[in-house]
């Protein structure tokens, strides 16, 4: 038996190291976790915390870390409390939470379409959510909850339209992307038309909101959006298991006992909610959902498919990082974070299109 052993070593040499796993078994609970995934997740988490504290400390007055921490204590000065807890903290936390939502949403849709281009911002769900909010604004709705309802409804209706147009003997990823891009283009021209035609006051509100910004964000909308996101996130482990089957194709998934159409529907609804929650508060922020899952996948040592946790953490870092740049790069002006993500993401999209073009 020595010959096969030699053969084995040579065959696996160089291509990938043997990953180490932690087997977790506790009563009925059992899981296997790759050690490298844990390490990656921990590193991303630390980076997120560093960005959080940087965001809390930077601003018109730069506060050292001890004053940032002290601001959360009851004996903190009123000014510190106001600056850190009321002004900076909700924005910094929102960047993290919303980034995570966008990352998860992107991972779900890319998995559904099995295509790196199949993210909610490319297939028009963002635009649809924006249209939903514009309708709400037209009918005089204000406030986060009205916007959120409009965004979720707009996103779901758009998803339904894309789904119906793209459906033919089951759902095919590439068809869905092409139809999505077309629907997105139509909706965004409708959105532009609205802003041009609506009366100045409404148009201004819509345009400001449409830039995609975290400027002036306060606790209330963050808590609403974060709370809903948390509840929805509880469904992710359930969904994740099914996605593992769906990724092998509809036939294989059915054969494994996955209920394909209902799992896809759940995936779409959860993905839309995740992206619409963010859109409702900030306006459309592009490219986080597109890029985060892909980067998360590439920095993992052992590759492999959908990684919701990694995508969430990466989305967190990307959006929070982009918001730091948006706030502080040009000292006099505060750029909307949506503009920063479009700039970074545009470059990424060009690279992605070239790569996909070469593959096909």
């Amino acid at each position: 038996m020595s010959a096969p052993a030699v053969h084995r070593r040579s065959e696996s040499a160089g291509t990938s190291r043997e990953p180490r796993y932690l087997s977790l078994r506790l009563g009925r609970l059992s899981r296997r976790i790759a050690l490298s995934h844990l390490v990656t997740a921990a590193i991303l988490g630390v980076v997120g915390v560093v960005i959080l504290f940087t965001a809390l400390s930077l601003g018109d007055t730069i506060l050292p870390l001890d004053r940032v921490l002290g601001a959360f204590m009851p004996e903190a000065s009123r000014l510190d409390h106001k600056v850190v807890v009321e002004w900076r903290a909700p924005r910094a936390l929102a960047a993290l939470v919303f980034g995570a939502c966008l990352g998860v949403s992107g991972a779900l849709f890319q998995s559904l379409t099995s295509n790196a281009l199949g993210s909610p911002d490319i297939i028009g769900l963002n635009t649809g959510a924006y249209s939903g909010v514009l309708l709400v604004i037209t009918f005089g709705g204000t406030g986060y909850l009205a916007y959120a309802a409009g965004a979720v409804a707009g996103g779901l209706v758009t998803a339904a339209i894309i789904y119906l147009l793209a459906y033919s003997r089951g759902l095919q990823g590439f068809r869905l992307i092409i139809v999505g891009i077309a629907v997105s283009a139509m909706l965004s021209s409708a959105n532009t038309w609205f802003i041009v035609k609506a009366d100045l006051d409404l148009a201004l509100r819509a345009a400001v909101w449409g830039a995609g910004t975290l400027n002036g964000l306060r606790w209330e909308p963050l808590l609403w959006a974060g709370g809903v996101a948390l509840v929805v996130a509880l469904l992710l482990p359930w969904l994740n298991r099914r996605v593992g089957g769906l990724e092998l194709g509809d036939d294989t998934a059915t054969m494994l006992g996955v209920r394909v159409e209902s799992s896809k529907l759940a995936l779409v609804v959860i993905g839309v909610i995740m992206t619409a929650l963010v859109t409702a508060v900030t306006g459309p922020i592009s490219f986080i959902a597109l890029a985060a899952p892909q980067i998360a996948q590439r920095i993992r040592p052992n590759g492999g498919s959908l990684d919701l946790l990694g995508s969430a953490l990466m989305g967190m870092i990307l959006l929070a990082g982009a918001d730091l740049v948006a706030q502080h790069l040009i000292p006099a002006a505060s750029v909307p974070v949506g503009a920063v993500t479009v700039c970074i993401g545009g470059l990424y999209l060009v690279w992605l299109l070239i790569r996909e073009g070469r593959r096909a």
Binding site: S12, R25, S30, R32
Partner: protein, 262 residues
């Protein structure tokens, strides 16, 4: 209804068609005996993949029923069925960069739950499936870097990890070179010998004759003949099914029929 205790999977008077086109299968009845290696043969577009997919509940018949151990599979819970019957489709998709072991592990889906996703049974089934198909030394390689033959063994490993008594395979040897074709068929033969029931759609007549215990031949959406390779592989049948003039001789080593086209 033809049914005896030894028949595990039966398709009874099946009518199957896609959308509003005419029927691909018209009143087809087939049965798969327990412990057999049943091969479905026939010219292109005769409906052999369709019958396999119908037996594996990937297609819903317009009329007729498929029964597994006497139970209508349309009424079984999809997950319960997935514990008894596995089907390997012709071209399953491979997620980019997934390792062999992670792919094989997905075959455990019907046995797992939200709580339990890496039980000792899961681990044992995956290890055993990779050993039987001789892909254990590739466990941590990305599937997309493997050769066609290795990849096919990995997929078979996935359906084995599912631990079903019945295995349905749709053209498992297509696109492989002849060495790997034989290797896959020998693997299926070993699986049959170890107690599983195997059903496969195959193209190559002589390979089918060598490994099958039972044959179902089809033409134009109908079953033409059913029987052992010796009964099926005859000069008359080759003419009737394929329109092929041939001589059929006996393999000097195995005693199985061999078709020599003329």
């Amino acid at each position: 209804m033809i049914e005896s205790p030894s028949e595990r999977l039966v398709g009874d008077r099946l009518k199957v068609g896609y959308k509003d086109t005419s029927l691909v299968l018209d009143d087809v009845t087939v049965s798969v005996p327990e412990g057999s290696f049943t091969v479905i043969l026939g010219p292109n577009a005769c409906g052999k993949s369709t019958i396999l997919r119908t037996l594996g509940r990937l297609l819903k018949p317009r009329a007729g029923v498929v029964t597994l151990d006497g139970q209508d599979i349309a009424r079984m819970k999809t997950r319960e069925l997935a514990k008894s019957l596995a089907l390997l489709p012709q071209s399953p998709s491979v997620p980019e960069g997934i390792s062999v072991q992670n792919l094989v592990a997905r075959g455990r889906f019907p046995h797992q739950s939200l709580m339990s996703q890496w039980s000792p049974e899961d681990e044992g089934a995956i290890t055993e499936a990779m050993r039987v198909t001789a892909v254990d030394h590739l466990a941590h390689r990305p599937v997309d870097t493997l050769s066609g033959g290795q990849r096919q063994r990995v997929w078979i490993s996935l359906v084995l990890a599912q631990e079903t008594g019945l295995l349905l395979l749709d053209e498992p040897t297509t696109y492989l070179d002849v060495t790997h074709q034989v290797e896959i068929l020998k693997l299926l033969e070993r699986l049959r010998a170890s107690g599983r029931t195997v059903v496969a759609v195959l193209h190559e007549l002589n390979q089918a004759a060598r490994f099958a215990t039972d044959m179902v031949t089809m033409k134009d959406g109908k079953v033409v003949a059913v029987g052992t390779p010796e009964e099926i592989i005859t000069e008359e049948n080759m003419r009737a099914i394929y329109g092929l003039e041939s001589r059929v001789i006996e393999d000097p080593d195995t005693g199985k029929p061999v078709v020599l086209p003329r």
